[in-house]
């Protein structure tokens, strides 16, 4: 914690620095009001202590100046004037507390500490992260009850990390906050401190990466997932899927939160970086495997392929598909899978099949060669909302699939009979499907749990001859719908049917349908209705996008719409403040390179305004170099994405940023 002390009385300076020392605060001292302003406006402090009577600029005026310029740092005034008027004047100037000289040292320290706590997000004198505990009152740090002996700097470093465990601290940031302005430490200093704390933590049993490094970004505390205290003995119970009654049913909330956190942009980025690093070594291997497959195709063409060779090739294709799949290379994986399935046929392949195999191998090779970089969108896809349609109308399903794809919504269909079989089988077994790995399709695993359901009811035929099967179909579908609705009460269900038949309509709603669309509704309408349901009653999220590329600005709102964003676009940064204030966005997306002002400057200005200090800012730029990314985080960005970006990805990143802000604010 850094404190700026503006005081001209040497004796008082001595007393104060001495009494603050045990608390590991860093104190910068200046002796006049002007210097106070210079320091306070240049460096970041957690608290400013001002004497009222000061040379050059008095404490009250200085306090007013800080507040007028938007500084929110807590300010404590020290004064000899113990009158109500003087106190009121002080508070009016924007001070947070007021202490009259001569003061009781203990009281002053207590007030300083209270102000520091108020300034931070954590009002408790205990900071913790998993088993790591830091007591601000006693300055003691412990891990699982084992206390750690830390130096002042190590303590301070840990305190900063603990105060905002959501945050990744760059070395510069830590230098700024931990070392007084007179010291000139380097980043290596931060590194060596981190190393020493890690050693001490490991010595008391903490994981090596409790303080984790995010390459190129900085350090953060890795929040460990919380386990149930009374752990059910996993090993002694049956190793079949446990029934709902013998284990706690859901993930414990801290663990879910942690798992949610694994989808944070940083985690995804880091995971992606790892995949890309893996890909550089895997790519040549994969190409070798393709070469083996190509050779097999040649042999097949020459009618020289025997069954053992074919089996071996099948294994190669299988391994290749597995590798490509885990790296998120879906297209190449599907090609490898197709090859695997051809090679896996019981009958030996015939030379006439060689051309087809050859096409597959060539396409696979090309796909692998073209992949220089795995993209974020390739690994994020499964987080896009999934619409599951129960419909026998194949033509409609197809057109709906196309529209869904353009909106970044995943789409899957289920024939009414399959849906019925699925849900009834499930009801009988009494297992919630998300935990039931052996049910018929769809397996509602974590990735496949739909976010919205669509039931398409058959149209009633006009001639009476067909009426009976149609009624039976209708009723079965109704039962299915009801079963789904009771099994997944939170899942919104959209129904398409004959709106003119009021009784049907009513029946559907009674059974759990949320929205009824007429049969004639176009796929576009269906998707937009689904999106509305997905959004629920949530207030739309307002996003403001500043970019001088007007074509891009025109397409973005469409891309972001399915996620319920209201988008304000701005091509002229000169209008920035006016539009920002008028649209009061929940998140801001900035381009870096713009004609009048660059995005970094804009972000920096924004961050200096107290009203906008917490607004999530995401940069979206064609600049892919680490320096630009680094610069973005230095000026206060929350995330950085490179163009071109898919709507899905941008939406995910904005949403995840907002979730964090909300989690933080709550």
């Amino acid at each position: 914690m850094k404190i700026l002390l503006v005081e001209d009385d040497d004796l008082l300076i001595q007393v104060l620095t001495r009494s603050l020392a045990p608390y590991h605060y860093i104190v910068d001292t200046v002796k006049d009001g002007e210097m106070g302003w210079t320091y306070g406006s240049t460096f970041e402090y957690d608290l400013i202590v001002l004497d009222v009577v000061l040379p050059k600029l008095d404490g009250i005026s200085l306090c007013k100046r800080f507040r007028a310029e938007g500084y929110l740092t807590p300010i404590l005034l020290l004064t000899a004037q113990d009158t109500i008027t003087a106190k009121v004047q002080g508070f009016d100037a924007g001070a947070d507390d007021y202490v009259v000289k001569p003061f009781n040292q203990t009281e002053l320290i207590a007030r300083i500490r209270a102000l520091l706590r108020r300034g931070s997000m954590n009002p408790s004198p205990l900071l913790s992260c998993g088993d790591l505990l830091l007591n601000l009152s006693t300055c003691e740090v412990s891990y699982r009850g084992n206390s750690l002996i830390l130096t002042t700097k190590e303590y301070e470093l840990l305190e900063i990390l603990l105060r905002d465990s959501q945050h990744v601290f760059s070395s510069e940031e830590l230098l700024d906050r931990l070392w007084s302005s007179e010291a000139f430490p380097s980043e290596a200093t931060v590194r060596s401190h981190i190393r020493r704390i890690r050693q001490k933590l490991v010595a008391v049993g903490a994981p090596q990466d409790l303080i984790a490094t995010m390459h190129g970004r900085g350090y953060y505390l890795k929040v460990p997932c919380k386990e149930e205290l009374a752990q059910p003995s996993t090993k002694s119970s049956s190793n079949r899927t446990a029934t709902a009654s013998d284990r706690p049913h859901s993930l414990d909330s801290a663990q879910s939160a942690k798992l949610e956190g694994s989808r944070s942009p940083e985690a995804q980025q880091q995971y992606l970086a790892f995949l890309n690093a893996t890909w550089t070594t895997t790519k040549p291997k994969s190409l070798n495997q393709v070469a083996i497959l190509a050779k097999v195709v040649q042999d097949l063409q020459a009618n020289q392929l025997d069954l053992p060779q074919q089996t071996h090739a099948q294994q190669v294709a299988h391994k290749l598909a597995g590798t490509l799949g885990i790296l998120g290379l879906a297209k190449a994986m599907h090609l490898a899978r197709q090859l695997e399935s051809w090679l896996g046929s019981r009958e030996p392949l015939q030379p006439k099949q060689a051309p087809l195999m050859n096409t597959l191998v060539t396409a696979l090779q090309q796909s692998i060669e073209e992949t220089t970089q795995i993209q974020m969108s390739q690994i994020l896809q499964e987080h896009a909302p999934l619409l599951l349609a129960v419909s026998a109308d194949l033509a409609f399903n197809q057109s709906l699939a196309n529209v869904a794809a353009t909106h970044g919504i995943r789409f899957d269909t289920l024939l009414p009979d399959t849906a019925h079989a699925f849900i009834t089988a499930e009801s009988i077994s009494g297992q919630p499907s998300s935990d039931q790995p052996f049910s018929d399709k769809p397996t509602f695993s974590a990735n496949q749990q739909p976010d919205v359901l669509l039931f398409r009811f058959p149209t009633a035929p006009s001639d009476a001859a067909d009426a009976t099967p149609s009624v039976a179909q209708f009723n079965t579908l109704l039962t299915t719908l009801q079963a789904f609705a009771s099994r997944y009460p939170a899942l919104p269900i959209l129904v398409m049917g004959d709106r003119s038949k009021l009784s049907d309509c009513l029946e559907v709603m009674r059974r759990g349908g949320k929205l009824f669309l007429d049969h004639s509704a176009q796929p576009e309408q269906v998707i937009s209705a689904a999106v509305k349901l997905l959004r629920g009653s949530q207030k739309p999220t307002r996003v403001m996008i500043v970019d001088d590329d007007r074509t891009w600005l025109r397409t973005l709102p469409t891309l972001l719409k399915p996620w319920g964003f209201t988008v304000t676009t701005l091509a002229d940064p000169e209008q920035f403040w006016t539009v920002l204030q008028a649209s009061t966005p929940d998140a801001l997306v900035l381009d870096v390179k713009m004609p009048q002002i660059d995005g970094f400057e804009l972000c920096q200005i924004l961050r200096s305004d107290p009203n906008w200090q917490r607004l999530p800012v995401l940069f979206l730029s064609v600049l892919t170099d680490p320096a630009s990314q680094n610069q973005a985080f230095i000026v206060g960005a929350d995330d950085y994405l490179c163009k071109p970006v898919k709507g899905v990805e941008l939406a995910n990143r904005i949403l995840s940023r907002l979730q964090r802000v909300r989690a933080w604010a709550s």
Binding site: E227, Y271, T278, A446
Partner: protein, 124 residues
């Protein structure tokens, strides 16, 4: 806090590495790896993981044979096993179910999602 220990048995090294990284990152769990059935059985005996992720299709000793072997050893009998498979046909899943595996996770998957999937299947 007790951390979980996962063993992944898969003949594809890339999958081992990515799964290890993903699980560690997402949940901080410890991940042991093995590249074949016999090696996996040995690691399971010595490492006593909380769950085994077992690739079904492996050359020589496949997932099913490995699972049977694990079941026949007293030290590994109680460890829940989740199959990793690319083909998730209903018939095949039934067969796995009858064998007594705890669940199936279909490839490909995002490794960051694995801890959640495992936790769901095993009701952790």
């Amino acid at each position: 806090m007790t951390s979980r220990r996962i063993l992944i048995i898969d003949d594809e090294e890339t999958i081992q590495t990515v799964v290890q990284f993903g699980i560690r990152m997402a949940a901080g769990w410890e991940v042991l790896t093995a590249g074949s059935g016999p090696q996996g059985i040995h690691t399971a005996q010595t490492g006593q993981p909380d769950v085994i992720l077992l690739d079904v299709m492996m050359p020589e000793m496949d997932g099913i044979a490995t699972f049977r072997a694990l079941q026949s050893h007293a030290e590994t009998k109680q460890i829940p096993v989740i199959f990793l498979t690319a083909k998730a046909q209903t018939a095949e899943k039934r067969q796995f179910n009858d064998l007594g595996v705890s669940g199936v996770i279909t490839k490909p998957f995002n490794s960051l999602d694995l801890p959640e999937q495992i936790a769901r299947i095993l009701h952790w």
